[in-house]
């Protein structure tokens, strides 16, 4: 690992972000990344966060048209409520704050506590839970579906809604609509190595892969002998379409877990798109890259997000963040 010591990994990264991105205000000590022009008068603010190790999520999505602030926790560990309260206070213009929370016990509990505290301080807070991962059965017997790739769509589309001047309830409604129409499935070809552990989080021999993994270096639902890109695409797309029957066109995210070369990701995208054509699912926009990662894990995930005309317009709306940029 290219680190100093495990204990300073997050602080070191924040110092590096501060140096690279003058358009962000990075509070290294309190671990809050805020767009430098916050609060933006009259606009709803978006705060997200979660464990570190998923970069560019979330810090790389802070900026006009997307997040107002991000709270990075320790590697794979939800941030603490203090961070979210501080972020909310920094970005609230009076129009309220939307917390975007991936559905993990830790994230949910910490954001819940933060919401209470922030409201005590007079900030109007709404929350949206992202739970798009079809590998987990959403039942009483699990912590519920995990939040993975759809987080990018929720953050972008709700960010555009806020940018368009929508009030908090409407921004929240957009976020919920996006999450409701988005599903993901991920595979791992290797485990990842966390700084604290210093060795792979689980044992995955070359020549095998894990189907249905999340983004925290956990093993998936099932181990299989290595499959081809085409077979993996087949499995992932089928898993997603079993759960989502899109009537509208979709946004497609072919996401790398961090250690998979872009060359392979693009090849994987070719297979995914071929299948979607076969299945009659029109792809309105495609994003290929390492956006919601698990440190150095090799693997990929497929997220489909169905979009009506309004959501598509919000997707195309300008965004200017370190990792996602288009429009003016």
């Amino acid at each position: 690992m290219l680190i100093n010591v495990a204990e300073t990994v997050v602080a070191d990264a924040l110092r590096g972000m501060a140096a690279a991105h003058p358009e962000l205000t990075v509070d290294v000590e309190n671990r809050v990344i805020v767009r430098a022009d916050a609060p933006v008068a009259g606009k709803v603010a978006l705060v997200s966060g979660g464990g570190s190790g998923h970069e560019p999520l979330h810090g790389g999505f802070v900026g006009p048209g997307m997040l107002s602030a991000a709270c990075p926790g320790e590697v794979f560990t939800s941030p603490v409520p203090d961070q979210m309260v501080r972020a909310a206070a920094a970005v609230d213009s009076g129009a309220g704050v939307l917390f975007i929370v991936k559905n993990y016990t830790g994230d949910v509990l910490n954001f819940d506590m933060a919401a209470e505290l922030a409201e005590d301080e007079g900030v109007q807070v709404a929350k949206v839970l992202v739970d798009d991962d079809v590998a987990v059965t959403d039942s009483l017997y699990t912590a519920g579906r995990r939040g993975t790739g759809a987080t990018l769509f929720v953050e972008k589309l709700a960010g555009a809604a806020a940018d368009a001047g929508m009030p908090l309830e409407r921004v929240e409604a957009v976020a919920r609509r996006v999450n409701a129409g988005a599903r993901s499935f991920g595979v791992a070809l290797t485990a990842c190595t966390t700084p604290a552990k210093g060795s792979p989080t689980f044992d995955l021999p070359a020549g095998e892969l894990e189907l249905g993994v999340g983004i925290h270096g956990e093993p998936g639902r099932e181990r299989r002998p290595m499959m081809t890109s085409r077979e993996i695409a087949d499995f992932a797309v089928n898993a997603v379409l079993e759960d989502l029957n899109p009537r509208d066109p979709v946004l497609l995210l072919v996401n790398g877990m961090g250690g998979t070369p872009l060359l392979e990701l693009y090849g994987f995208n070719a297979e995914v798109q071929r299948l979607l054509v076969e299945r009659g699912v029109p792809v309105a926009r495609t994003l290929v890259g390492n956006y919601v990662t698990s440190l150095d894990m090799a693997g990929a995930s497929v997220t489909l997000c169905q979009v009506d005309e309004e959501l598509l317009r919000l997707w195309d709306a300008p965004v200017r963040t370190p990792a996602l940029r288009w429009g003016v």
């Binding site: 320790e74 016990t105 910490n110 699990t142 912590a143 093993p219």
Partner: protein, 208 residues
């Protein structure tokens, strides 16, 4: 009777135990979690010890409430709010008495554990910290030593369970056969509690 110093020593002993077992806890959190439970608790309990030293709260309730708040502010993850709530609610239940007896503490701890169950929505048998906390507090009526043994057994007994809460639940059947890291750290807390009770400070020692 248990005074503020007793609880300070408990948490200090717990911090030492977490330090010693951090690698083990993270190791247990690898096959069925995200390999951070040891470093999470280490960060939290280190901060607790520092804060208790600095703020020197004077009642058992204040010690536990402060420690709980500190865990919430430094741990993150699932275990931060859960352990933080455990200590905070236990502390609140103790009120501002200068000393409490064992029965009062046992009842307060049960309140704290109930708060953990309410917050996390887990029940005994879900393969979580509750599987060590519940038997631990149940045996506390007998003795600190009995509580230690019961919590330890509870932690060991999580191995064959199918996880229904927390990250391990994502694994479904594959969560079976692994000991729950949170139950293991919960057993450490009872370990430290027994250790604290069994090793009273030398009379006349400076209680800070």
């Amino acid at each position: 009777m248990l005074d503020a110093d007793f609880f300070r020593r408990w948490l200090t002993n717990a911090a030492d135990a977490v330090d010693r077992s951090a690698a083990l806890l993270t190791e247990l959190d690898s096959p069925i979690g995200d390999a951070d439970h040891g470093s999470n608790l280490q960060r939290g309990f280190t901060a607790v010890v520092v804060t208790l030293e600095k703020e020197a709260p004077e009642t058992p309730g204040a010690v536990l409430t402060l420690a709980g708040r500190q865990l919430i502010s430094t741990v993150g993850g699932a275990s931060g709010p859960l352990y933080g709530t455990l200590l905070r609610r236990t502390g609140k239940a103790l009120g501002d008495a200068a000393e409490v007896d064992e029965a009062t503490f046992t009842e307060a701890l049960r309140t704290g554990i109930d708060a953990v169950a309410a917050l996390g929505g887990a029940a005994p048998g879900d393969k979580t910290m509750l599987d060590a906390l519940m038997p631990g507090v149940d045996a506390l009526g007998t003795s600190f030593g009995a509580a230690r043994d019961a919590a330890r057994e509870g932690a060991l007994a999580t191995t064959p369970l199918l996880a229904r809460k927390g990250r391990a639940s994502y694994l479904g059947e594959r969560s079976i056969g692994h000991q729950d890291p949170g139950a293991t750290s919960a057993a450490l807390l009872f370990d430290a509690l027994a250790e604290t009770a069994e090793n009273p400070p030398a009379p006349g020692a400076d209680h800070g």
